[in-house]
Structures are given as structure tokens and as C-alpha cells.
């Protein structure tokens, strides 16, 4: 094919100018208006979507960009949830500050988990991170003096600036944090770190030849990703107001990974769409007696077979044709 034809095709593929910002504006406006439209249950589902979207954003940087599989994100989510809850409830640290500190603490845990990632690849890395996830969950369970072990932790609503956060307040907090998270992930994915992660996924040797130390960037990717998961965990803890070690099992890690793959690897939009699909579709299927699991499972298979680039890839294809 001639270069001219290539260029013409590339130009055709570009979205009409301004479509992106307009769509984004509509989504943000709809999200802001949601508490006025939805009932308590609907708002809870939407809040949970936001929390999971935050995890997916971080995981997508690690898996979609850097090509590293993690099966311990539920544990990062859990460490963040417990750290935030304990800091706020037991130590009396202001909620927003505990979210940040919990996130930074878990980022350090994530950096430690990254150490085997410097040597392991693909399935081997997946199994190693699976092991880490189990260990972290076990630590939460056994450290009874701090976490109350199997008894779980019951939490009272958090207070920000003298105002007690109920469902609507928590929802707006999640919305604000997710917006910040999208902004940060967008910047990183288009900055030197995002580009470094992409070339590391392609070839670590090529990355080295370009002066990019693969090992250091894998640690950075794990740390950022764990930070996102932990902040989401801190929001989750106060959304459900009761956390238990069993909440953070490997099953949830697999769910996080599914969200990223279904939504679209290596895309910001995909993280959000994937989380929405994973949370909202089972809720919509609830009416079908006994069948929600079955239908949802089949939907997962269909999405993967028909949309190799995930739901976001499909949305982009439709957007280009329009």
C-alpha cells in the first residue's frame, strides 16, 4: 500500500474535532446529576462502579501499558481499605489524609511486590503475585490486634470539615477522586513514564538501548498501580462501612483483571467502561431468575471473542464510522 493511501486512511480514522471533549462533558454532567435521579441503591451501584474504575485505571497502567500481570490487586485494595479505616477510626487522622497516607503506604507494598517482577514474566509473574495476594490477605487476617481479624471492622460514616459524609457525599467524593485519577492516569500515559512502560512491554532490550531501565519502571508501575487500588480501597471501606479479610480474596483480583481486559487494555476509557460493565450488568440481570451468573459469564465470553480490543475498542470503532 502506498504511503499516500496510508495517510489518507489515518486521517479518516481521526475523530471529528471536539467530539471527545463534548462526550466527556456529557458524561461528567450526567455523573454529577445522578444523585438527583437515582434511588439509594442505584447510587450505591454507581459509587461502587467509580471505586472499581479507580482500581482498573491503576491496573491498566500496569497490565495494559507495562504488560505486567497482577493477581494481587484485591490485596492492595484490602491493604488500602484497612490502612484508611484504621488511620481514620483508631488513630483519628482526617479521612482525606488517611486516604492519601493509606495509598502511599500501599504503594510501598506494591514496590516490594515488584521485586520478583524484575525477573519473572507473564504466567510466572501472575502466579508469584497470586502468592503475594494470599500472603497479604493472611496478614490482614492474622494481625488481630490491628485489624480485628475475622471479626472484621465496622466503620462509622467519615467526617470531612465537620460534615458527615452520607451516601451522596461519599458519591461526590468518589467522583472527585476518580476524576483526579483519570487526569493523573491520562498524564502519565502520555508522558515519559507511559511511553517507557509501552516500550518495556514491547521489548526490555529495546528499552535498555534507549536508556530506559526496565527494572526501575516496573517497580514504578507496580507502585502507582497499588496506590490507585489502595485509594479505591479506602473509598470502598466507607462505602460498605464493614470490611472483612474475605472481601479481598483472589476472586476479586481476577475480577479487576477482567474489568481491564473487557474494557480495553492500554486505554483510560476502557478502565471505566470495564468497571461499569462488571458492576452494572450483573445488577441489570438480577431479574432473570437463577440465571444472572450464567448470562454474565456468557457475555464475558462473547465480548472477548467479538471484541479483541475490548468494549472501548469497539466504541472507538463505532465513533470513527459515525
Amino acid at each position: 500500500m502506498s504511503a499516500a493511501a496510508d495517510i489518507e486512511r489515518a486521517q479518516r480514522q481521526a475523530l471529528p474535532f471536539g467530539t471527545g471533549p463534548i462526550l466527556l462533558g456529557v458524561c461528567v454532567a450526567a455523573a454529577c446529576a445522578a444523585p438527583f435521579v437515582l434511588n439509594g441503591y442505584g447510587l450505591y451501584v454507581l459509587n461502587l462502579t467509580g471505586v472499581f474504575a479507580l482500581v482498573a485505571l491503576g491496573l491498566n497502567l500496569l497490565t495494559g501499558y507495562a504488560g505486567q500481570i497482577s493477581l494481587c490487586h484485591a490485596a492492595f485494595f484490602g491493604v488500602g481499605a484497612y490502612a484508611t479505616a484504621i488511620l481514620t477510626q483508631t488513630a483519628g487522622v482526617p479521612y482525606l489524609l488517611s486516604l492519601l497516607v493509606g495509598g502511599l503506604l500501599t504503594a510501598c507494598v506494591g514496590a516490594v511486590v515488584a521485586v520478583p517482577a524484575m525477573r519473572l514474566k507473564s504466567l510466572y509473574l501472575a502466579i508469584a503475585t497470586l502468592g503475594f495476594g494470599v500472603v497479604l490477605q493472611k496478614i490482614i487476617f492474622e494481625w488481630r490486634s490491628l485489624t480485628n481479624g475475622g471479626g472484621g471492622l465496622a466503620l462509622s460514616p467519615p467526617v470531612i470539615g465537620g460534615y458527615e459524609l452520607r451516601a451522596t457525599g461519599l458519591y461526590y467524593l468518589t467522583l472527585a477522586v476518580v476524576t483526579l485519577g483519570v487526569w493523573g492516569a491520562w498524564n502519565v500515559s502520555r508522558g515519559r513514564t507511559g511511553r517507557a512502560l509501552l516500550i518495556i512491554k514491547e521489548s526490555e532490550i529495546a528499552a535498555g538501548a534507549l536508556g530506559i531501565p526496565a527494572a526501575r519502571y516496573k517497580v514504578i508501575a507496580f507502585a502507582i498501580s497499588a496506590f490507585y487500588a489502595a485509594v479505591a480501597g479506602g473509598l470502598f471501606a466507607y462505602l460498605v462501612r464493614y470490611i472483612h479479610p474475605e472481601n479481598f480474596s483472589v476472586g476479586l483480583s481476577i475480577a479487576f483483571l477482567s474489568m481491564v481486559v473487557i474494557g480495553g487494555l492500554g486505554t483510560i476509557g476502557g478502565s471505566i467502561v470495564g468497571a461499569a460493565f462488571y458492576v452494572i450488568v450483573p445488577e441489570l440481570l438480577r431479574g432473570i431468575k437463577d440465571a444472572p451468573g450464567l448470562v454474565f459469564g456468557l457475555l464475558l465470553v462473547i465480548v472477548m471473542v467479538l471484541m479483541p480490543k475490548g468494549l472501548w475498542g469497539l466504541a472507538r470503532r463505532i465513533g470513527r464510522r459515525a
Binding site: G191, R195, I199, I205, G208, A209, L210, G211, I220
Partner: protein, 254 residues
Amino acid sequence: MARLSIEDVSVDFGGIHALQDVTFEFESGAIVGLIGPNGAGKSTLLNCVSGITRPTQGRVRLDDKVLSALPPASVAGCGIGRVFQHPELVVDLSVRENLLIACHRSLGYGLVSELLKLPNMWRAERDAARRVDQMLDRLGLSDSAELAIRNLPYGHRKLVDLGRALLMDVRFLLLDEPIAGLNDAEVAKLRELLLRLRDELGIGILVVEHNMPFVSRLCDRLVVLDLGRLIANGLPADVLRDPTVMASYLGEDA
């Protein structure tokens, strides 16, 4: 003027001597061809210089700095560019974005600036974009800047790969079979480009290539390896007439 020295370098893989006591050096501003039959150790030598393979014995030096103890990313940071036989580009990204990857080290901003898009980030990115524009112009790829690599012909991909190495402000460039897969017009263009790069930027180029006419017209000097040993080092005309070289290497084709 910088000098790259390969000093008594040996590499053993298990019981196999991939390189044995190879010694030669060259200065920036020179184009040196590294030739030899398959399995002679040419790529192993390039890997030693770029830090991918540790020499079992001997060392590689850039002026007074010993490179053979450094990891590949640090060697690259010293100004040693490496272009692989098959370009390893991110195929979903555009030509411009692939070139930006190579600006990594010169973009000095930290992670926090990046997450929050602080002014120092976008200022650095703007400067890098300008350097990429100049490189696109130099390579004659300005028209393809926004194309995804997957829509780019192979010859252009090799140019992008070369451009990436050059954007690191290299003093020495290691090229592994740069013309494999290129057509005659592309080969002629590449030769001109390499000569121009040497003259304008004063860089030293070490090139592994099988195509004798290309090598003899491009290189100031030839180094010949056979079975891991250096068997000749001199002007192209002299080396190609050397009976040892003809026996070991050119004899194969005769």
C-alpha cells in the same frame, strides 16, 4: 573526539567461545564495518558494547569510562546508540510518539510533575516535540509523523528505529544489518544519510552488514571476525584483498 575501545574481549557461552581476545578501537567520526561469516560473533560483540552481554574477560571503554560493568540503560546514557536488526517499535503508536520514547533521558521531569502535569512537564515535552520535528525532517519522515507504525512500510520503520537512537544524542552508533529488507533506492538513501550523520554530527558508526558492496562503499575501515577471533582490521580495499579474509569469509561465496 571520543574513542571507543574494545580490549581483549572474550565471551563464553557454556563451552562455546563466541569471542576470543578481540581488540580494536575507533574514534567518533569514523564508520567501521564489522564483517564475518555467520556465527563469527558480530552480534555478540555489539551486545558486549551495548551492555546486553557481559564479557567473560576484557572490557569495553568509552574514553576513560569502563562500559562493560554497566547495565544497558546506563551504557545508552553514555551516548552509545544501538539499532537492532528488526526494529522494535510500539506498533500502535505514531512515528512521532515512537521517537518521543527516545527523548526519555533528556525529559528530566519527575513522576509527580507528570501525574499533575506541572509546567516543567509540558515545557520539557514541548522542547522534546521540537527535537522530534527536527529529527523527522532529517529522516525525511515529516509526512508520516502521525501515522501508526503498523501502517508504515518496513524501510520507514527501520528509519524510525535509527531516528530513535539518534535522538539520544549518541556519540557512537551500533547498527546491526541496517539494509536487510530494504530495496535498492532505500539502501542508497540510507548510505547517504549515514555519511551525512557522520559529517554533520561527528558520530562514530560501527556497522554489521553482509552486503559487501554496501560495506566497502560506506566504511572507512573494516574489522573481520571469524569464529570469534579478529582476523583483519584495516582499509576496506586492503582487508578485502587479504588472503586470510578471502579464505575464511569470501571463500564461502566464491
